[in-house]
Symmetry: D2
Subunit: 363 residues, 4 copies
């Protein structure tokens, strides 16, 4: 199947380059009758949009989405939904200097070897610009999931060396970092200001949580819910690691410590991150992702050109010094797409199942 499609029943297929005319997506399998408006999509697109604070790239994109099909009189028809976002602020001249060389730690080298051809303008298809369409498609999934009682939210849990323990969802939308602790924001701002002066970039850690997920989602043995989340989240640009629940901390845990005990009142802990045996347990689903520091920085780096000659590369253009800052809505979108797909797959097979057994789910 297409490497540009995600999902099996609820499928998202996208196309579009950083500096081409437009981004486009086809979202298929959405249940009919869902009320959907441009606002539903725009809200999340605006959360991801560049240029809204001094801490992200200064590229200006309205990211206005047009619905081409699949929605009629304000409701989904069940037919494939076409989405279009025109690129409006591409400045190709910024990139011509790097046409024949490989920026270190970019996809230039690998795209060149894979395809022979390369749209070198702003990274082409490898640019994070494509994530706008993930967010638009994810907004449709979120809307349907919300109608089923499922809420998906994310936040920044670490910026470079600064760990950010979760404090309150109320803070997350009140600052440019999706930081869940308002008292941490000045520290983050100071760190980013210094980073820009250093002409450097930094990594970040994002946490995404889905609450209200019914038990039963996930398709063993290969399409376990955690495996699909790992796939979807790792497919986001710059992501180098994914954890579910306790994640790598479980390496040093003992079984007596890790196992989430059950009582008639619910689970007593959530080391599992809401997934047991690859299937949702009814607890909140918790995933963490690590984003690397972007390699588009103005500090020169050693590289080679396409003929193999050594060169020093400075990546100009307009870039995010921390791509993690805008990653929260993207991670939410990918989690929404996965849960949506699995909700439909689950009920396709198991619509008949009736279990008279308590559904737990606290913590």
């Amino acid at each position: 199947m297409s490497g540009n499609t995600y999902g099996k029943l609820f499928t998202v297929t996208t196309a579009g380059e950083s500096h081409g005319p437009a981004l486009v997506a086809i979202v298929d399998g959405c249940p009919p009758g869902l009320e959907i408006s441009l606002d539903d999509l725009q809200r999340d697109l605006d959360r991801r949009k560049p240029g809204t604070s001094r801490h992200t790239t200064q590229r200006q994109e309205a990211d206005e989405v047009e619905i081409l099909s699949g929605v009629f009189e304000g409701r989904t028809t069940g037919c494939a939904i076409g989405l279009l976002i025109r690129n409006t602020d591409q400045k190709s001249k910024d990139y011509s200097a790097i046409k024949d060389l490989f920026r270190p730690a970019h996809a230039d080298y690998t795209y060149h070897h894979k395809y022979g051809e390369r749209d070198y303008r702003g990274g082409g298809r490898s640019s994070a610009r494509e994530t706008a369409m993930r967010v638009a498609a994810g907004a449709i999934a979120k809307k349907y999931l919300a109608s089923q009682g499922i809420v998906i939210r994310g936040y920044m849990s670490q910026l470079g060396p600064i760990e950010i323990p979760f404090k309150t969802w109320d803070s997350v939308e009140q600052n440019a970092f999706f930081c869940p602790d308002p008292d941490k924001v000045p520290e983050l701002e100071a760190y980013m200001d210094q980073l820009r002066r250093d002409q450097d970039s930094v990594g970040a850690k994002i946490t995404v949580v889905a609450e209200g997920v019914m038990p039963g989602l996930g398709e063993p043995i290969f399409d376990r819910l955690d495996a699909e989340l790992a796939h979807a989240l790792m497919s986001i640009n710059a992501v180098k690691g994914v954890e579910i629940g306790a994640g790598f901390a479980c390496v040093a845990q003992r079984g007596t410590e890790h196992r989430d005990e059950l009582t008639p009142d619910g689970f007593l802990s959530n080391n599992a991150g809401g997934i047991l045996g690859g299937i949702s347990s009814g607890q909140p689903i918790v995933a963490h992702l690590a984003l690397k520091p972007t390699s588009s920085i103005t500090t020169p780096g050693r590289s080679i050109d396409i003929h193999g000659n050594p060169v020093d590369v400075i990546t100009k253009g307009r870039h995010d010094p921390c791509v993690g800052i805008r990653a929260t809505p993207i991670a939410e979108a990918m989690m929404a797409i996965v849960l949506m797909d699995h909700l439909l797959r689950h009920r396709g097979q198991n619509a008949d199942v009736r279990v008279s057994t308590p559904v737990l789910g606290q913590l």
Copy 2:
């Protein structure tokens, strides 16, 4: 598509429960003309096999595989390969006591809610027993990849609190832990002996490395090579985290530190873990996975039965106190299946591509 199938061109479909009559797999898409023997499969099956040291479950399974189809006169025909492993040491009586209750941190609760029905004998489909078929299928992939110069090997990089820096591949097959440092083995043995006395279990971290991978494998944007590896590795029982290259360490890295610079002599570092923009770079591909401590322990834990009543659960039967110990061949198999699939997908689309550009790849 089936949740029990992995891959798109090279596909592995499996079935079979812990205490049913047999495990079975159908491996499709293997190139014809590959010399394959039972020994090729048995070698890795034996590395995963239970009961070979005192540190793993005492279940005795020969894990003898039969090739049912797709191989003729010692070579693959290009047709689907059927594989069969009979279960020989299932003791169903061990499990009848837990029929109506949910073992904490097991898949009991989630399988029950998903399907209504449950094969409670030894975990049924959720048991790690199914991984035998991953290993058998992976051995076929490994054999073909080896013919293309690709070698896949893994080792244990952490056992509970004990970190194990890589020292030498020579050590890995010389001990029960796949430990790459012979001097560490006594410490691991002592730790495991104490753990058994404590009636507890512990987590582990495994590292898998593929060397000799050509640049170009991976299908953006959703089927990036790292995303597929995350999917495949996270689908292994007990895995709660996956990292590529620097992984979560990149959160605190700066761009100047993280980026792998290129010179005419090769890459100068490998924070990327051999993957840039979701495509292999020619460097070794490096992945780490975190395995949780198994929840099958004899120390009692709080739980409920299917009627919602509180119970205390002791998991008897024969179990691994550290499932990570036998996970190395499984992780290798899954990495092999992913690389194999992507090698075929890549050449399907890009067989015409000829690039007269140096292939780097050191480190």
Copy 3:
């Protein structure tokens, strides 16, 4: 995806050659809780089985199926179902003479060019022997569909030049031909007896009908129900044509004649064959398939060997002079698999839909 897998939610993956040790299948996505026994599978296997009359091949195969997984205490668990049928009457010596030559109108030539390798014993994977597994898997689908009120039956509608208008389902299981008119049977027997004396083979036409199908199955625009039926039925060995409803007769029809008018009492005709716009209408689904005369005949035919030299080929061994005679259960199985898959896909997306509009469906 694997060319040996059919279906997207209800998937059937098979492997196995004519003269290898066994046939194997993995059926995934079956709803849990379905009562299934070996008898359910064996009944249809026996209907397809060779050697039950003088009009089919004299190969003796018990075609006894073993269920390896996915069924526990007589009910499906929702996990992948493994099926195994051992080959017991393969006589490989019959075939060694044709190792290096291409039988005319067989798959020998094309398998050789595709794979380079070829299991020449009895056609290997290209033998109709593999259809046993389609029938076994189809029996599971039939059982579930029956629980939803859907009944699938087929009959022979033409044998060579002899057209067989439908008369009664009661006749179909009473003769070796699946002939729906008992008065036609002697004519068919006489024709076949003469055909054997002529050392020749002949084509046939089969009709399959599904009754009780709810409106709504089929996924436009590419996975229309008729398109999937065409795929599934054309994938049966020897099939060269598929029609839905009026089929090729509609070429000469006018719109006023072809269109199936609706009244409050139901449709007035069924030229559509129960499918409008690629979606089931509630009317019976009707498909016809054309099977070619087998090319395995003892009358010599011109061909070449693998070096390009001309040869005369006589195909010995045990063959069906009319492969259409045993095709009815296979066609039923494939229709069942398609409907099953689409029933699950449909409810995955559209489980919420409630329409207060009459369901028609007569004729």
Copy 4:
């Protein structure tokens, strides 16, 4: 997978309704480096375009396609290709009268029951308008296949009762019918003129031929080349039957007559239609499809409304009296997409295969 996606390595995903803002497609998996221009796409779009003769619908659509991505400096990059066609001549007011009733033999009834929701304007997604995108995507496949020596052409082989034996390709593009015999054209014109006076519609038969196809394409057992062609061709609006080679004629054929004998100079006949055992043989691939008479006619027909009340329906608007007339480019496109996909799948698995055996292929 999405019902709006066709193909596994070369995939075509489409969206768009008859009277919505636009049609859109994403074509993925195209090999990089293929020279492609708007003209390549427009040529076939113009062949399918409505309103070019008095025998087709008078809707005026420029069908101008825009390439949104995947093509850079005139060559494909290997990344997903986005295509957009704006609808320009939708007249929604024509359709409001039929909002609450089901036109006989239309998809109205089935879409209503499947989705609950329905875009009633001009048939919405069920309109043949979507086939424009099949043609645009098919043009890309055709261009690549041509570079491999494969040529795909089609013609009308029957219009209503008038059979049209193949005479010459030269004639096909010289008339509005894709008629391969210039002497037949006046008869076809007269027939159509009378049909319009009768306010009726009629069926047609189209034949598509691929020449220059290498042996080896097709993936047994379910994704046989003939099975996939049947799927793809049956998925075209109004198609009710598909034949490969001799098709239904083989029912009455004997084996001695049907089998295509081989000599060192080539095959002596082509009853197989270029496919043996589901794999291309090197002979021309020949498929026939039957298209039903459109049900959009102004002669009143009995039907019901969504409340179950009887109504008489006259379908106004602008319609094709014979949808078969514009079907030739669509059938070519679908055959091209199938062959393209299978060429890539084949070389993905079998790129290593070298066979020193003559490739036949005459007739």
